[in-house]
Every structure is written in structure tokens, then in C-alpha cells.
């Protein structure tokens, strides 16, 4: 037995190293090295073509002065907060409803309502570009024309552009929160709910006093996950409002990063923006975790 172990240990170790090496190579070449490069680039003024000049923290200072960047950061937070709140609410309500039905209707509901989530952001972006189209043929305008209202530029008005972007994200995303909540609700101990019934609790009371508290960990997960994911949104916004929306009301950090980097060819400034975004995400994750933990 001992001989077998020694032989297998070293051989196993070598095999282990071999198994991991290709993956490690990918991570180092396309991951670690670019991270270091990004940090380096962020301290330069570079157009990606000609020679770069070292400029220290100038890019980061400019990022604070940059009005569009500041607006983008605010927009990103508005978007993330709204999308997460709506996804949680809609997702929970639908999950709660589905948990009360059995059989085909519930199964079909789960399958259908999850479909938007599996679509690509690009496809959903094009779809909603059509829905929000300012022409009289846009789906939304066609709907309101039934009530006699004139066509409206949904993505062109500073009052509706951001809400429109928010709603597209919610349409695509609520199904995920719904499924996670569904799993959570179904795993609430039955006797907890039965006890509430015996105490004469109404549906709403059961929700407030039993279900939601039991689902705290689920909610915490969905909030952090959803907030970070939405902070990083890029594709959807690019398709809906490629120019950043009326008065840049829908420019987000990711889209501004892209435009600085690949439209204005400011690689130095661009990487600085990306790093700032990464730091923002880190801060938000830590803060959210702290806030949510205290509620328990």
C-alpha cells in the first residue's frame, strides 16, 4: 500500500501539473500580462500607433475633470440601481406567483419567462431599437397610436431615454432573478408556511414576514451580482443609444471607455477609465456586501 501511494503521488503530481499547464498558459498570456500592460498604458498618452509619452497620473486626473465621464459614472449608478430594484421586484413577484401554481402552466411559465435571458445583448438591443423607434412604425409608437397619441422619440428625449434603457435591461434580466427566487421559495420549509396559515396570515403577510426574510441570502446574492453586472453593461447601451443619448443621458462608463479607446484612439486615457471602472466595481461590491450583511 505504501509503495503504491508513493508511486502515485509523484506521478499524480506530475500529471496534475501537466493538466493545468495549458490553462495556466492561457491565463498568464491573455490575462496576467494584459493586466500589467493595462496598468502601464494608463500612465501614458498613447494613440496605439505612434510612440507613447509618459504622463504619470494625468489620465486619472483628467478622468475626474472629464464632464462626460462624471455623467457616465452617475448614469451607470442610476442604471444599475434601477435595473436591480426592478429585476428583484418583478422576479420575486413572478416567482411567488409561479410557486403557487402546479403542473404545466408553471413549467411553461418558467421556460417562457427565461427566454429573454438567453438572448444575446446585441439581439435584444436591435429588438428594442425597433420597439423604441421614433418613427410611427416603432412597436411602442404603434401601441400608443391605438390610443390616438402621436409618435414619440423614446430614445431621443432626455426624459425617456434612460428609462427606456433601464426597461430593456429589465426585460432581458428579470427571468434570472425569477428563477433563483423560485428555487429559494420552493426550498422554504413547508411547516414555516403552514404555521403562518394556521396563524391566519394573508398572502401579503406571508410574503413580508416569512418568505422575504427567508430569502435574504438569495436577495443579497442577486443584488451584488446584478449591480456589478449592470455596472459593466456595454452592448445593450451601444445598440440603443450609440451616441450616448440626448445630452449624454445614457452614456455609461463602459461605452465611454470604448469611445475614448477606439473612436478617439486614446489608449492611455481609455485604460485609465477601465481601471477606474474596475475600482468602482470593487468598492461597490465591498460596500454592498457590508450593507446587506448588517440587515441580518
Amino acid at each position: 500500500m505504501i509503495k503504491l501511494n508513493i508511486k502515485n503521488t509523484t506521478r499524480g503530481q506530475m500529471l496534475g501539473i501537466m493538466f493545468v499547464l495549458p490553462s495556466l498558459a492561457f491565463i498568464i498570456i491573455f490575462g496576467i500580462i494584459p493586466i500589467i500592460s493595462s496598468i502601464r498604458y494608463s500612465f501614458t498618452d498613447w494613440d496605439g500607433m505612434t510612440a507613447s509619452t509618459f504622463v504619470g497620473f494625468e489620465n486619472y486626473l483628467n478622468a475626474f475633470k472629464d464632464e462626460v465621464n462624471r455623467k457616465a459614472i452617475v448614469n451607470t449608478f442610476i442604471l444599475s440601481f434601477s435595473v436591480v430594484s426592478l429585476n428583484l421586484t418583478v422576479g420575486f413577484l413572478l416567482a411567488n406567483f409561479l410557486s403557487g401554481i402546479k403542473g404545466r402552466l408553471a413549467e411553461a411559465g418558467k421556460v417562457i419567462l427565461f427566454i429573454p435571458h438567453i438572448l444575446s445583448f446585441a439581439a435584444v438591443g436591435v429588438l428594442f431599437s425597433f420597439i423604441y423607434s421614433s418613427t410611427d412604425l416603432g412597436l411602442l409608437n404603434k401601441v400608443i397610436s391605438v390610443f390616438g397619441i402621436e409618435p414619440f422619440p423614446w430614445l431621443g428625449s432626455v426624459y425617456t431615454a434612460m428609462p427606456a434603457v433601464i426597461l430593456s435591461h429589465v426585460w432581458k434580466g428579470f427571468g434570472f432573478d425569477m428563477l433563483i427566487y423560485y428555487a429559494g421559495i420552493m426550498s422554504i420549509p413547508v411547516n414555516l408556511l403552514e404555521a403562518a396559515d394556521i396563524d391566519g396570515a394573508t398572502g401579503w403577510q406571508k410574503i413580508w414576514n416569512v418568505k422575504i426574510p427567508s430569502l435574504k441570502p438569495v436577495t443579497q446574492l442577486l443584488v451584488v451580482l446584478g449591480f456589478v453586472k449592470t455596472m459593466l453593461t456595454f452592448t445593450m447601451v451601444m445598440f440603443l443609444t450609440p451616441d450616448g443619448g440626448p445630452s449624454k443621458s445614457t452614456e455609461v462608463v463602459a461605452t465611454w471607455f470604448y469611445k475614448q479607446s477606439f473612436t478617439f484612439w486614446e489608449f492611455g486615457y481609455g485604460t485609465a477609465l477601465a481601471i477606474i471602472l474596475a475600482l468602482l466595481v470593487l468598492v461597490v461590491t465591498v460596500v454592498l456586501r457590508k450593507i446587506l450583511r448588517e440587515e441580518v
Binding site: 492561457f26 496576467i32 411559465g109 446585441a122
Partner: protein
């Protein structure tokens, strides 16, 4: 104990029905319009039509708008990257879970930490790398970067899964004389169907819809993928709606069909992948 009023129940079912309609109708509308002639579209906006049925929009989009190229590119890029991620991650995950080797914990942390930085950190340096390797405007560039994008999470899923296989399984096989490789290929992999399908689904879906790297790396039509090609159709473009809907259908319908059939695995894959990510 039905303590709630009938009206409340009606409201609940109505809200549910509304949710289904809001979710489904845009997609149904997309399909209806994709198969409509322009004339029919002007006449009948909301419903499908048999009289005005046409495959012309698809013909136009597939050939003249070159979607046959984009579809091919998306398929090759997504499949090849999914394949490489699955292969690499299953091997690596098993190594981390079962084959103890020096520094395995530290290496695992490094691999995982790459996942926590936003993709934008990598985009510019990767662009510089690919340009230097003369790999911009190539499917290879997509293959390499998509593999990188998918590896950390896949390795995490694989390792966690392999932890759940009792070590008695491989130990008893080794007592019978099987070496590590035999154990791995003959026993462990056949047991790993759920983890593998999870990794395959997450990666294929992610690669199929990936946009920012696709658009930065491949600007020539011959190597564009579907998401990049769809940017012809942003809110600022003026392409006929029936063409847009046909293009969207090509982008969406295959995935939806596969999803409906393999529905169980999809939901499991997304939920697991996200919870673990």
C-alpha cells in the same frame, strides 16, 4: 386556506398573463415580420400572415447582407472556443480537485482572480497583442480570447464538480491497477456529464453573443460575427424593418430552439454558473 379575494386572484393571473405577453410578443412579432412582404407589413402590422408570406427577407439578409458569412463565423468561433474551454477546464479542474501538486491552491487563486476584473481591462492590451501577432481580423483571435474569457469560471465549475466525486471511486480503481490517466478517461469523465454540459452551454451562449471583443478584433466583413454584424441595425440606422427582423431571427431562433429542447440543462447551467461566479 383561501383567504384572498377572487378579484386579487384575477389581478394576479392578469399580471402573469401580461408578463408572458410582454416577454413573448416582441419575439413573435420579430418572426411574423421576418416572413412578411413590405406590402403586407404596411397592411397588417400585428399578426402573422399567410397571404403575405415570403422568404425574401431571409434571402436578402442571408446573401446580400452576407449573413451566411457572419453565421459561419459565429458558429466556428463559438464552437471551437467552447471545445477548447471544455477540454482545458476538465483537465485543470480534475488536477486541482484530485491530483495534489505543489502550489495548486495559489495557482487556482490566480486563475480565478482573473475573472473578477471587468473585461474592459483586457481589451486594449489584447488588441495590441493580436495586432502584434498579426491575428487581428481572424477567427483565431476570437478562439484564443474566448477561451481565455471562459476558462476561469469553467475551471471553477469543473473543480467543484470533481470534489463531489468520492475519492473511493478512483482509489478502488487504482488498487485494481489503473493509472491516473485510465481513471480519468474511463471513470471520471463519463461521470461528468452534468458539469460538462453546464460548461458547454455557458460558453457557447457567452461566445455566441459576445460583442466587444468581436467588434474590436474583427472589423473586416469576412471575419465578423453575428453580434458585430447586427451593429448595422442600431437605433441610428435606417434599414428596412423586415430585413432587421429577418437578421434578428437568424441570430435568435437557433438558440431559442436549442434552449427549448435542452431547457433543463440551460437553466441549471446558468443558475449554477452565476451562483458560482
Amino acid at each position: 386556506m383561501k383567504k384572498e379575494s377572487i378579484t386579487f386572484t384575477i389581478i394576479k393571473y392578469f399580471a402573469y398573463g401580461l408578463a408572458i405577453i410582454i416577454t413573448l410578443y416582441p419575439l413573435l412579432f420579430m418572426i411574423f415580420t421576418a416572413f412578411k412582404t413590405p406590402v403586407e407589413f404596411a397592411r397588417n402590422f400585428w399578426l402573422p400572415s399567410i397571404k403575405g408570406f415570403t422568404l425574401n427577407n431571409f434571402r436578402e439578409v442571408w446573401f446580400n447582407y452576407k449573413f451566411y458569412i457572419f453565421f459561419k463565423n459565429s458558429l466556428i468561433a463559438s464552437s471551437s472556443a467552447t471545445l477548447s474551454v471544455t477540454l482545458l477546464s476538465v483537465f485543470a479542474g480534475y488536477a486541482f480537485a484530485r491530483l495534489r501538486f505543489p502550489f495548486s491552491d495559489k495557482v487556482f487563486t490566480v486563475i480565478l482572480s482573473v475573472m473578477f476584473l471587468p473585461v474592459f481591462i483586457y481589451i486594449i492590451p489584447l488588441f495590441i497583442q493580436m495586432r502584434g501577432l498579426k491575428l487581428t481580423n481572424s477567427i483565431t483571435s476570437l478562439l484564443l480570447v474566448y477561451t481565455f474569457f471562459g476558462l476561469p469560471q469553467a475551471i471553477y465549475i469543473a473543480r467543484n464538480f470533481f470534489y463531489t466525486i468520492p475519492s473511493e471511486v478512483s482509489e478502488s480503481a487504482m488498487v485494481d491497477g489503473a493509472g491516473h490517466m485510465k481513471v480519468f478517461t474511463r471513470i471520471i469523465i463519463p461521470l461528468s456529464k452534468s458539469a460538462i454540459s453546464c460548461i458547454v452551454i455557458l460558453n457557447f451562449m457567452g461566445n455566441w453573443g459576445e460583442y466587444i471583443w468581436a467588434v474590436v478584433s474583427n472589423t473586416k466583413d469576412s471575419v465578423k460575427t453575428i453580434p458585430a454584424a447586427l451593429s448595422y441595425f442600431t437605433s441610428m440606422s435606417n434599414v428596412f424593418w423586415w430585413y432587421q427582423m429577418a437578421a434578428l431571427s437568424i441570430a435568435i431562433v437557433p438558440i431559442v430552439i436549442v434552449y427549448t429542447v435542452f431547457n433543463k440543462y440551460f437553466i441549471q447551467g446558468f443558475v449554477e454558473g452565476a451562483v458560482k461566479g
